[in-house]
């Protein structure tokens, strides 16, 4: 009798543990992410911390992170920025690659090498350092399309970008 109670308790614990693992399998424990940017003096990989909203699944965290990286740190921070109006159209995770679709305003980056490289570096470093989300490379779309570089730009966009692209 005692044994069957013990077995039943064990069973309940196992179910509870299984439920916990199931519900937490894709959830990030962290409540913040690190967004990287480049300062105007050229120093790169400068981190700033952004609190996450309530959604913590990998897809939501990746979407949140891409939006924050493109918004950049608050106005008044010494940072290289994506052009005004640039926004995220979508983020899709395929395995360990995040495909980030960016609005056409991003083409304004092609005016100068410095900003072009720095802006994409900030995005790639942010996306590849998310807590609980295994992303090692980033592919870029502009207005839905894969392109080799921005029109008139220098930076190559047609292959997945990783932290070792720099």
């Amino acid at each position: 009798m005692g044994r069957s109670i013990a077995l039943a308790a064990l069973f309940v614990v196992a179910i509870a543990a299984g439920w916990w693992v199931y519900t937490h399998r894709t959830t990030s424990a962290a409540d913040h992410i690190t967004v990287y940017y480049t300062k105007l003096d050229g120093s790169t990989e400068v981190p700033w911390t952004v609190s996450l909203g309530p959604a913590r699944d990998p897809q939501s965290v990746a979407f949140y992170a891409a939006t924050q990286a493109i918004a950049g740190p608050p106005a008044g921070t010494d940072a290289v920025r994506f052009p005004p109006g640039t926004h995220v159209l979508g983020v899709t995770i395929n395995g360990s690659t995040a495909d980030v679709d960016i609005s056409k305003e991003v083409e304004g980056l092609a005016g100068g090498s410095f900003a072009e490289g720095a802006a994409f570096k900030s995005l790639v470093w942010t996306m590849t350092g998310l807590p609980g989300v295994h992303i090692t490379s980033v592919t870029i779309r502009v207005d839905g399309a894969r392109i080799p570089t921005l029109p008139g730009g220098h930076f190559e966009l047609d292959e997945p970008l990783t932290r070792s692209s720099w």
Partner: protein
């Protein structure tokens, strides 16, 4: 859905009870507003909401299936709503909305007035209507040594002007803006005593005035703003300097950083305007018996070309001058401070006597053509006396060149440039034939005396434009100078372009164009590849010189070039940087991409307008090449592989 809402949250009601919203003087019509417990739910795809956000410079990010709906404001704050959760974030702060955003009909619905307040727009009841009134919402004061810096922040865009000013007191008015800020704020810093804020006018058309009471013997100036919803004013004791600008007395908006213009140049810069008179003013008689233009250059001992005609066609703008040549030539042009502009055609003889013609046109007074230098390497000069800083363009054509003088004042003029007509032997080798017609490109460096120079952009791609400078012209100018230096040092040089053209085709895609440039170097087995660019940025703050590389075997070359550039140019050293740039990545030999200076920076731009600076860029690159690769004679010849000697 309604039943679920009744259990878990406020009930969604009909839109009939909702007030009509007014914003910026007009009714803001929301296509499908929903009353959720007194707050208005609106779809992010509602045209009314989209128009409202556009006016405030905000963008929305969401995709189907996504839980976050994120609005990015013009001042780079993010407002993050979450489907199914009432908590939302505005920048670093967390708050709770009256209801949890939800999906209906595939569209996310978010709380409208909550969002408006986060954008510094306050809903204010005005009879049966609700006026969405932009606010001057924040006043930040910080101390920078003896300076007191005040930033006013509100809804985008802030429109303001100075309405009163004495040495120690200044009043600003903000149009269409109300304010919740307290009427008086005592500061009592060394240079600012107090700030007084008051609003007047109507709910629909308010004005907020802000008066700064400076301390005795203080000065003030406006600082550049960081965002389109900010105005920053600094105060300091008179003994302290303040770098800023006067506060404008006319209605002004805070400047929004704009992407750098990249539009193609107007075609009128190169295409003749309609002619008033088709009759040439003069046409020197062509000499018979000259070799035809465009024939393959026979040898390095090729004789001079002949200038067979100079046709001057005036038009209502200025004049178009067509120069006919019998063969290839290099040219360089210069603008002098006394309104003279001239172009020298090298290795060209004039088939007629010197010509001097008065034109008395609005743009140009006269034109002169003469044999400047006779002998075995003759030079012909064509010179104009202009009426002031008139625009002059020279474009190589199939059989010579076209010079266009426009009746347009140019405020920031390039003072010199150069170009090439046809293929000049000795400077630009013809495409490399590789032995036995092998389809594979020769190994990198198999042509060890050949350096490929890539003048960035060109033709339909202007590159960056700022401060009256156009990247594609500057890169070609520097490239021509570099070519001359390298040729004089015994290198063979090939240019990816030697005039204002696309390397592959006009308006081709980026890969075609950039790969075309790489192919020229790769197929020729060049020893080195140098791409020349001028940097640019959305604000004037950045300056300096950078040499970019990608491959491991680029590193030493890049370091050598950057070291020489910095020692010659007097620009800020922005260092050697690795970037995923197409032309350094897809060339097989050591390659660099030089960004000589920032044309968006006033100091760098002034340097770029000086031919001596452009010459120094070329010298610096050439010296870097020498440091890295030695001299061409120190390189073992492998002519059996390249057919090039």
């Amino acid at each position: 859905m309604i039943a679920l809402s009744a259990v878990f949250g406020p009930v969604r009601g009909a839109a009939a009870d909702l007030p009509s919203f007014w914003f910026a003087g007009t009714r803001l019509i929301l296509a499908h507003p929903v009353d959720v417990g007194g707050e208005v739910a609106v779809s992010i795809h509602d045209p009314g909401l989209i128009g409202f956000l556009n006016r405030l410079g905000a963008t929305t990010a969401w995709q189907p299936g996504e839980r976050y709906v994120i609005i990015t404001t013009a001042d780079r704050r993010t407002i993050a709503f979450t489907i199914g959760d009432a908590r939302y974030r505005v920048g670093p702060s967390s708050a709770r909305a009256p209801f949890a955003p939800y999906i209906e009909g595939g569209d996310p619905y978010i709380p409208f007035t909550t969002l408006a307040r986060a954008l510094f727009v306050e809903p204010i009841s005005d009879g049966p209507d609700v006026v969405l009134q932009p606010q001057l919402a924040a006043l930040d004061v910080r101390q920078d040594g003896p300076r007191t810096i005040v930033t006013l922040r509100g809804a985008t865009p802030l429109r303001f002007k100075k309405v009163a000013e004495t040495s120690e007191r200044v009043t600003l008015a903000f149009a269409g803006v109300g304010s919740p800020l307290p009427a008086t704020r005592q500061l009592l810093t060394a240079s600012l005593s107090a700030v007084e804020i008051s609003s007047s006018g109507t709910t629909r058309n308010p004005t907020t005035t802000v008066t700064f009471d400076g301390a005795a013997l203080s000065i003030h100036a406006m600082y550049p703003s960081n965002a389109p919803n900010e105005v920053t004013i600094a105060f300091a004791p008179q003994s302290i300097s303040l770098a800023g600008t006067p506060i404008p007395a006319e209605w002004s908006g805070t400047a929004v950083q704009q992407p750098i213009a990249r539009a193609p140049l107007p075609s009128t810069a190169v295409t003749p305007a309609p002619l008033v008179s088709a009759a040439p003013l003069f046409t020197p008689a062509p000499l018979p018996g000259q070799p035809g233009f465009g024939a393959p250059a026979p040898s390095a001992t090729q004789g001079p070309a002949t200038m067979t005609a100079v046709d001057v066609v005036p038009n209502d703008e200025g004049a178009i001058v067509r120069v006919s040549l019998t063969g290839p030539a290099l040219y360089d042009w210069h603008r002098l401070a006394d309104n003279r502009w001239y172009v020298d055609f090298h290795n060209v003889s004039l088939s007629s006597a010197p010509i001097e013609q008065r034109l008395d046109l609005p743009a140009v007074q006269s034109v002169r053509v003469r044999q400047l230098v006779p002998g075995p390497v003759p030079v012909v000069r064509i010179a104009f006396t202009l009426n002031g800083d008139r625009a002059v363009r020279i474009e190589p054509s199939d059989d010579g060149a076209t010079i266009t003088v426009q009746n347009v004042i140019e405020t920031a003029l390039a003072v010199s440039g150069s170009g090439q007509i046809g293929t000049v032997v000795g400077a630009v080798p013809s495409p490399q034939p590789w032995k036995f017609g092998s389809p594979a490109p020769p190994p990198p460096g198999s042509n060890p005396r050949l350096i490929v120079i890539d003048p960035g952009h060109g033709g339909s791609d202007t590159g960056a434009m700022h401060n009256g400078l156009v990247e594609k012209y500057l890169t070609l100018d520097i490239a021509n100078r570099l070519r001359a230096i390298l040729v004089s040092r015994g290198w063979l040089v090939k240019m990816t372009r030697d005039r204002d053209v696309d390397v592959v085709a006009p308006n081709d895609d980026a890969r075609t164009e950039l790969q075309g440039r790489c192919d020229i170097a790769n197929n020729a087995g060049a020893r080195l590849f140098v791409s020349i660019h001028i940097n640019s940025f959305t604000s004037p703050v950045l300056s300096g010189t950078t040499t970019y590389y990608y491959k491991p075997n680029d590193v030493k070359f890049a370091a050598a070039v950057q070291r020489r550039l910095i020692s010659l140019l007097g620009t800020k050293d922005d260092g050697v940087r690795r970037e995923n740039f197409y032309v350094v990545r897809h060339t097989t030999m050591p390659a660099v991409l030089v960004e000589a200076a920032f044309l968006s920076n006033p100091q760098d731009a002034a340097k770029l307008k000086n031919p001596a600076f452009l010459q120094n860029v070329a010298e610096g690159i050439a010296d870097g090449i020498a440091d890295y690769a030695g001299s061409p004679t120190s390189v073992p010849s492998q002519s059996s592989m390249s057919g090039e000697e």
